[in-house]
């Protein structure tokens, strides 16, 4: 379907798709099998100028918007969601800076990201604080010109590989969520270490580790915004990132549909191609319809976000919820269409099905997405009375 992209947007998507075809697809099974971090692909993305899509031009980026970011993520996810997650997670670490960073902080941290010389990570989740992000226990205590951070962040994408992490920690425990603040913590700062690489079901090219802070002493100018803004930084960051998760789902589902449909054309049973069976056609028809609906939603919300609305939590959540549930369903059905072949690692759809699951979990579970949408609806309908 034609989404009336501009020539520039189409060029961007085509370039990302070229990278997916030429650099990602040929090695995705190997990256998955060996759980290798895709540094070579990150270098290729950097060389193609794709590491700075959302970073303003004054910091070396392309200065593009949410829609362009989604187009790139979608195209990369057609290749491998593990690789695309690595790429996307770096922006997750950068959003707090883009939204609330000081000029000095932006000057220092954004250009290496835009050039692709460095990655970043966003460190919020803790062992006792997942969906309940307000339950974080990491602390940051001011000590003269420094802050001293203590705590453990869990399941942090890119941790250990990223040059800096945006860490959310409590500067005032008595205020709960309102006492949280956001800090830039560099990989090489004293008191920073990383846990072992987690073994995951899917997105195995991406790396997930603990960030351990033990008396981590950082200069006070690493605070993003001001004290107590941590939770707002987090919410605004995730609002912006969620259509990106939806875009990953769209790319993944497109790839699964392509695999299943081409397979169905080739595979013969009962003397004919299985594509000719209505039972298979109906599966494919549902997959294609849900996929197109998800893509339309992601693009629409991304365009809405690019129009700079004041609040888009509900729309952001919708653009994550529907596409990621869709990708799970579509990848399960892709395996079903391909039968035993689909279940074998020789074909890419079993990996797609494993990769799809995380999309319903990370960046806020889909249950939390429904809470956000429900909360917004409740507010809207209260006003109307």
């Amino acid at each position: 379907m034609d989404y009336l992209l501009t020539e520039e947007q189409q060029m961007l998507k085509d370039l990302a798709r070229q990278i997916a075809e030429e650099r990602i697809k040929p090695i995705r099974a190997q990256l998955d099998e060996e759980e290798t971090f895709p540094w070579d692909i990150m270098a290729a993305l950097a060389q193609a100028d794709l590491c700075g899509t959302i970073i303003p031009e004054e910091y070396g980026g392309l200065g593009l918007g949410c829609l362009e970011n989604c187009l790139v993520l979608e195209a990369l996810a057609e290749g491998c969601v593990g690789v695309a997650t690595t790429y996307a997670a770096s922006f997750l670490g950068a959003y707090p800076l883009l939204l609330f960073g000081s000029e000095e902080q932006k000057q220092r941290y954004l250009p290496p990201l835009a050039k692709g010389e460095a990655l970043s990570a966003f460190a919020l989740t803790e062992p006792q604080a997942g969906s309940d992000a307000g339950a974080i226990q990491a602390t940051a205590v001011k000590d003269g010109d420094f802050y001293v951070l203590n705590g453990t962040k869990q399941w942090i994408t890119n941790a250990g590989e990223a040059r800096f992490n945006t860490v959310i920690a409590l500067t005032d425990r008595s205020k709960g969520a309102r006492g949280a603040s956001a800090f830039l913590v560099e990989r090489s700062d004293p008191g920073v270490s990383f846990g072992k690489k987690e073994k995951k079901m899917g997105i195995r090219a991406s790396v997930t580790r603990e960030v351990i802070l033990e008396d981590c002493r950082i200069p006070k100018d690493r605070l993003i915004g001001k004290e107590g803004l941590g939770f707002i930084v987090t919410m605004r960051t995730l609002d912006l990132a969620r259509p990106g998760a939806g875009a990953l789902a769209v790319g993944l589902a497109q790839s699964a549909l392509d695999e299943a449909a081409s397979f169905a054309k080739e595979r013969h049973q009962f003397g004919v191609s299985i594509f000719s069976f209505q039972a298979v056609q109906h599966l494919l028809a549902d997959m294609a319809t849900k996929l197109e609906a998800a893509r339309a939603l992601v693009y629409a919300v991304a365009r809405f976000i690019d129009s700079k609305p004041k609040d888009f939590s509900k729309e952001g959540a919708m653009a994550k919820l529907f596409p990621t549930d869709m990708a799970m369903a579509v990848t399960v059905d892709a395996v079903q269409v391909m039968g035993g072949h689909g279940y074998m690692r020789e074909y890419p759809v079993e990996k797609m099905m494993r990769d799809a699951k995380i999309l319903q979990i990370f960046e806020g579970t889909n249950q939390i997405m429904r809470n956000i949408i429900g909360l917004a609806l409740n507010k809207e309908y209260s006003k109307k009375k």
Binding site: E7, M11, I19, D49, H268
Partner: protein, 267 residues
Amino acid sequence: MLRIIVCIKQVPETQEVRLDPVTHTLKREGVKAMINPFDLYALEEGLRVKEARGGKVTVLSMGPPQAEEALREALGFGADAAVLLSDRAFAGADTWATSLTLARAIEKLGGADLIFCGKQAIDGDTAQVGPEIAEHLNIPYVAWARKLTFNADDLLKVERLLDHGYDAVEVELPALITVVKEINEPRLPSFKAKLRAKKEPIPVWGLGDLGLPPEEVGLAGSFTQVVKVFPPPARGTSETWTGPPAELAARLWQRLQSLGPSVVFRK
């Protein structure tokens, strides 16, 4: 500041080559085109030399007006400038007339320190144009380069790929180098370069711009001419059957039997 020129050719995408049954020439209209794959390696090497030693990379191509797309694509990889040589008078050129036209354009550009070409084009497969350009310009050339090393600012060590191993030669600049795929891994296009490439003016030079007499270019300036192009004769007819193996085997057996006594079966 090295003046680097990379010569590229737009060729049909390999799977889509069709011949015009009347004129016996390649059908180019409506056929997807691409940069000759070997030329991408030539371009990459030009860009690498520029990045390592400073300079300017200009891409040059002779072809129909649509060859401009190939030049824009080359700019998208990071080339600095592009020139298209296009004129009805250039049509039908053999390798001699083509290389003469390219050589005159290189002179018009003010000459070059290094000229890169792919080892050959995948449509004509002659591998002649590169070396001929060097002959017209009266500069040395090294064909089939798989590795370049600068021994001095104007002295290049070149490893030439041979059937069994390689040999190493030294060549003084200015020189022309044709490259094989072993020399590098071409980069991806970059988004910023592609944006620039969209707007970059690409001059089109014709016969008048190059100061060449009409009888030295195109078909008129060619010593050779394609008289006939033909696909190898088909070896009988073939059919493709699909279906379950047992069914196919039975069908095949029936067919072989129906072919009669010319087919002999022995245990």
